[in-house]
Symmetry: C2
Subunit: 186 residues, 2 copies
């Protein structure tokens, strides 16, 4: 169920688990970002950053809110929804898996950019990173006179496990069409 997969060198690879220091760094980065536009670093925002970085992997906003509640912090829905875009602009978060239903995010702070491959059967998410895509995208944008500011790129398919399961033990075919939706089958 955990997406995982982090194939890039350097970084948090060896000793320190991503805890403390990463929060501190993010906080500093965010503070700078906020200062630049005369915004304020509040308790709520601090709490949200902590909660966010504590979650490894992709998470839906709803879960983040639950986390905050659990911690005793009363982060209101509105505040969270207002803060996440700020964190994104500040480069601390990035949107992930934006197909349909719910937005989800993931930490961006020490990571390379990447996109996602999602299994329609079980919701598994694999990350991929391919410089060629990035280059070609810039090329295309330029060709049309656009200044490229971002992209959504997501592949959907069936993972190996789900393919195997498909030609299953001959049991009744359950519900062949409509297996489940991308959102990791809620």
């Amino acid at each position: 169920m955990r997406p995982g997969l982090n194939n890039h060198p350097g970084d948090q690879a060896i000793a320190a688990p991503p805890g403390e220091s990463s929060v501190a760094q993010a906080l500093k980065q965010f503070e700078r970002f906020l200062a630049e536009r005369a915004l304020r670093l509040t308790a709520a925002r601090r709490a949200i950053i902590e909660a966010v970085l504590e979650r490894a992997g992709h998470f839906p906003i709803e879960e983040l809110i639950a986390d905050l509640r659990r911690r005793g912090i009363r982060g209101s829905k509105a505040t969270v929804y207002r803060t996440l875009p700020l964190l994104t602009e500040a480069g601390i978060l990035q949107e992930a898996v934006v197909t349909g239903e719910t937005r989800s995010y993931e930490a961006a702070i020490g990571r390379e950019h990447h996109d996602h491959l999602v299994c329609l059967g079980c919701g598994k998410v694999v990350e991929f990173e391919f410089e060629a895509f990035e280059i070609l995208q810039r090329e295309i944008a330029a060709r049309h006179g656009f200044r490229l500011e971002g992209h959504h790129h997501q592949l959907v398919g069936r993972c190996a496990d789900c393919q195997r399961r498909e030609v299953a033990p001959a049991g009744p075919p359950v519900n062949a069409e409509h297996p489940n939706r991308v959102g990791s089958g809620r």
Copy 2:
């Protein structure tokens, strides 16, 4: 305000407007598709196909429903929402510009596959088609043991016009951040 733009050769370029024949072809194709799964070709479905093919370019579902109403056909929301995925599976429609807010569709029947480049400023949509992407995507899916079933690929940025408008006549910078959302600024 209308996204528009359809730069691909052939098709509706010279003589025949995409009317009649295209509808007939789609109808036949859909009939075959339905037969295969013991579904029925009903009046509502016929009407929806016509309305759909009448719209050139990308359209949000809401507008399609309005079209139907206007024609006197009372296509219910539920029916339309149920039919569009069928038409998509049948290859008559394809999803388009699936970022955030609302789904939109476009005719797929005589067209090559393509993806989209969207202007964050004015909502303009440009289509692009690049075989290299398709190949690399298959490559990546394979590398992870996935059977690829589709993808969403959308570039976002600022079109030339909007960039020009940016360094505008020195008037007050309006509302620099939050220009508008992708959805063609509602």
